[in-house]
Every structure is written in C-alpha cells, then in structure tokens.
C-alpha cells in the first residue's frame, strides 16, 4: 500500500538516509528501529511530506505522493503530545478537521474519545491531564480525519515504563477497534521489546548513513496479550533484533 522507494537524504554534506526501500501492506503494523541519530525521524518526515528527499519517492497505492501536499493520508503522533494549551481536549482533537475544512460528521470525535479512553474529559485542558492521557488525546487527534496511515515518532518515549507498556496495549486496542479506519501504522521506536510486541514487521536501520539492515517478520499471534511477553518466541525475536542492531 505504502511504498518507500530508494529514499536518500543529504543535509548539505551530511548523508542521512541511503536508498531506503520498504513496503507496508494494508492493515500492517511496521516498526522502524535503529541507533539514535540514524535518521528515523527524518524518514518519517519524508514520508509525511514535511521534508523533501534528495532522491527517491514515496508512493501510496502505486501513485507517487507530492511533497507538502494536503493529501490527508497521514496522522502524525510525536514523542510529546504537542497539544495546544488554550484548547480543551475535544477542541484539540478536532483541530485537524478545522485545518482541513472537514465537518465533524456523525460526531466522530465523541466516538474517538471513547476509543482512546478519554470520555468524560472533553472539557479538560491539557495541563489538567497526565502524560499518558495527553498522549491519548494526541492519538485521537491523529485519527480524527481517518487517515489510512498513522505515523508515530517514539510516541511513548516520554512516558514511564508502566504507562508505556499500558499505552502499547492500548494502541493495539485502538488500532484494532472497529471504529478506527486507520489500518496501517508506522511506528518509530528505540525500544526492542516494544517493537517486537507491537509489530507485524520490524525494519532495522543501520548507523548513519542509514541503510536497511534487515526486515524481521514478527509472527506472534494477534491479538497480542501480556502472555506473549513470557513466550520463548518473543524472547527469541528480541534476541535476534538485538544481535542485528549490535552488528549494524
């Protein structure tokens, strides 16, 4: 569905990405992992049309995506929630609709609020919410205009371990919820166990200039439950990923 085709990026003379190519299928959860500073965020921004690649293309359903075009294809979640402090939860979530000039048909924000577990907090302001709740609001904001692809840049990196694990489970639940129209997730992370637990496939990048080191299939059953975290397969996959990362 989404095709990253030989994407290369130079910042002046700094070679950041080197011919990155991979594809995601519909309904797939793909993680991107790699050493810090290797260009994961740059890659995500290129996919999102915020940065122009030096060479290469992004294609969606076999059509190249124009740079900086309002295509409504991607929801974006950052490491920090980036909520506007003068807007309450519901107004923050509906911000993309205002920008895109879309009407809030069938009160989808209300449904979405339930899906992300924030019902009852519509009128709260960001500074009244915990970090986890703020990030839920950010996820709801990314999903409100029903983009087919959700891009997440270390979305739980700023959360504590317990909240982080919980939010991982929640993300899977939201992603698989019937009301969510978003099918594909591209998820950048630093955490090997997180990548294994959440993904169908993990793309491992090398040090800068980043090349694709390996793409690993995670054939753990879905829905993923906490039980999986104690299975041998889960540990084997983690070990395999760590080894690849080490040699990269």
């Amino acid at each position: 569905m989404l095709k990253v085709d030989k994407v290369t990026k130079y910042y002046n003379n700094l070679h950041v990405l080197d011919k990155i190519s991979f594809q995601t299928n519909e309904g797939e959860f793909v993680s991107i992992i790699g050493p810090s500073g290797c260009g994961k965020t740059t890659l995500l921004k290129i996919i999102n049309g915020l940065i122009k690649p030096t060479e290469g293309n992004i294609e969606f359903k076999d059509k190249p995506i124009k740079f900086a075009a309002n295509n409504g294809l991607f929801g974006f979640v950052f490491q920090n929630p980036v909520l506007l402090p003068w807007r309450n939860v519901i107004k923050n979530i509906e911000l993309p609709l205002e920008i895109l000039g879309k009407k809030n048909l069938k009160n989808s924000s209300g449904d979405l609020l339930k899906v992300v577990g924030l019902d009852g907090f519509e009128n709260y302001y960001p500074n009244q919410l915990s970090g986890g709740m703020q990030q839920r609001a950010a996820i709801a904001r990314a999903l409100i205009f029903e983009p087919p692809i959700l891009l997440m840049d270390e979305p739980f990196g700023a959360l504590d371990e317990i909240t982080r694990n919980y939010m991982g489970m929640e993300l899977l639940r939201i992603w698989q919820a019937e009301k969510t129209k978003t099918s594909t997730v591209i998820f950048v992370t630093h955490s090997v166990p997180e990548a294994v637990f959440l993904s169908d496939r993990v793309v491992i990048l090398s040090k800068r200039p980043a090349k694709i080191e390996k793409i690993i299939d995670v054939d753990l059953p879905r829905p993923r439950t906490t039980k999986i975290k104690f299975s041998k397969k889960y540990f084997d996959l983690i070990e395999c990923l760590r080894k690849t990362l080490k040699t990269s």
Partner: protein
C-alpha cells in the same frame, strides 16, 4: 475551595491596604509633631478631603489625561501589533526597520516631547503622540518575540496538515504570543500615563499634569498632591484592569507577577 480563594484574595488586598493605612498614620502624626507648614507637606487626611470635596473640579482634568493615555496606548498597541506581524513574515523589513524602532526608544522622551509639542500643538494630539512613542517599543519587542515563539512541533503538525499561513497565524501564532503581549501591555499601561503626564507638563491648559505644575507653582501643595494621588490611583486601576484581562485571556498560563 471558595473559602480558601476568598481568604487569599483578602490577604492579597488586605495586607497592602493595612500598610497604606499605617503609612498614612505615621505621615499624619509626623506632620503634626514636626509642625510642617501645609505648603511643604500637607496631612494625608487633608489631601483625601480635598479629593472628595473637589472631585467635580478634578474629574474633567483626570478625564482628559486618561483620554490621551488610553488613546495613545491603543494606537501604540495597534501599530506595534501590525508591525510585529510584518516583522514575523518578512525578515528583510524586520532587519531594515528594527534599528529605528530601537532609536525611538533610546531617544529620551523628555528630549522628544518638546518637538512633538512643536509639531502637534498644545492640544491632546501631542500628548497622544508622546504616549504612542513611549509605549510602542516594549509592545513591539514582546509581540514580535511572542509571534515567533510558536512551538516547533505544533508548527510541524499544522504544516503536515498543509495549514495556510492565515490558519497558522490565527490558530497557533496569535494564541502563543498572548503570554508575551500581556506583560508588555502591563508595562506600557504605566508608561502611557507617564507619557501623557510629560506632555501635559510641557504645554497644556488642562489635565492632571497641568494641575500639578500649576498648583506647585502657587504653593497649593494640597491640590497638587491630591491631583497626584488621583492619577496614581487611576494608574493602579488601569494596571489591575489589564492584569485582570490577562488572567481571563491567558488562562492556561499563570502569569509571573510584576
């Protein structure tokens, strides 16, 4: 919750008021004990009675001073805002004009004021121009700064949705700038009054500044100090009004006290 709020409010207002009463008492007693003549230092009770008894006399003068203050203040706010918006969108214009904005600020207002009176006459216009000159710079600096401080990530978010410049301005830049604009508005509220006052001191036939000048020259110190006290009280009210509006508008950020 309410009770606690009320208690805090009481403390906030009550303590300064208590000190004021104490200060007035010491002043009152000192004038009596030292037997100071009224034209040197009148008793505070005398000044207060003067205000109450002569209120009708003071009111039009206070009115005219406040009119030039508030008018100049708003014109300065409007001008600085427009210029700040232009600065944020054009680096060239900012580079070209910023040094001259600084020049206006660096030139002492006392040196500029006589020229302004020369050009605009002794009427209210010259006072308004002086107020604009004195308020303009702090407002310009803070508004420009404020419009530039929009969160990098929030900008990225809006850009990823292909938001227009106008949408970015109205939904992000403007609200982000409010916590910067209001402190400047508070500083300028005090400056504005000074500006009007300076103008009236130089040349005027009405206004609080004119009254003070006139009555200190005729050694009617009580009237002069009553006029001064009235102006100070109005200034404080003006400042508190802006603070109040700030608290309502910039509700998401508790402002630092000035």
């Amino acid at each position: 919750m309410f009770k606690k709020n009320f208690k805090n409010k009481l403390k906030e207002l009550g303590i300064p008021l208590l000190f004021l009463v104490g200060g007035f008492l010491i002043w009152e007693i000192a004038v009596s004990v030292l037997a100071l003549p009224e034209f040197i230092l009148p008793k505070p009770s005398k000044i207060i009675f003067e205000i109450i008894n002569q209120f009708k006399f003071f009111l039009p003068h206070l009115g005219i001073t406040m009119l030039s203050t508030v008018t100049g203040y708003f014109i300065a706010f409007l001008l600085s805002f427009i210029l700040a918006v232009i600065f944020v969108h054009s680096k060239t214009i900012e580079r070209g004009l910023y040094p001259y904005a600084i020049a206006i600020r660096v030139a002492p207002i006392l040196a500029l004021a006589p020229l302004v009176v020369l050009w605009f006459g002794i009427g209210i216009t010259s006072k308004i121009v002086i107020v604009v000159l004195i308020c303009f710079f702090p407002l310009l600096v803070n508004t420009t700064q404020g419009l530039k401080t929009a969160d990098e990530k929030a900008l990225e978010l809006l850009n990823s949705l292909s938001a227009s410049k106008w949408q970015i301005f109205i939904k992000l830049r403007l609200p982000s700038s409010l916590p910067f604009i209001f402190p400047a508005l508070k500083i300028s509220s005090a400056l504005a009054l000074t500006g009007a006052f300076v103008g009236e001191f130089l040349a005027a036939d009405q206004g609080i500044g004119y009254l003070i000048l006139l009555h200190t020259r005729t050694f009617d110190t009580t009237t002069a100090m009553a006029a001064l006290l009235l102006m100070v009280l109005t200034g404080i009210f003006f400042f508190l009004l802006i603070s109040f509006i700030e608290n309502k508008v910039v509700f998401w950020q508790k402002p630092e006290r000035i």
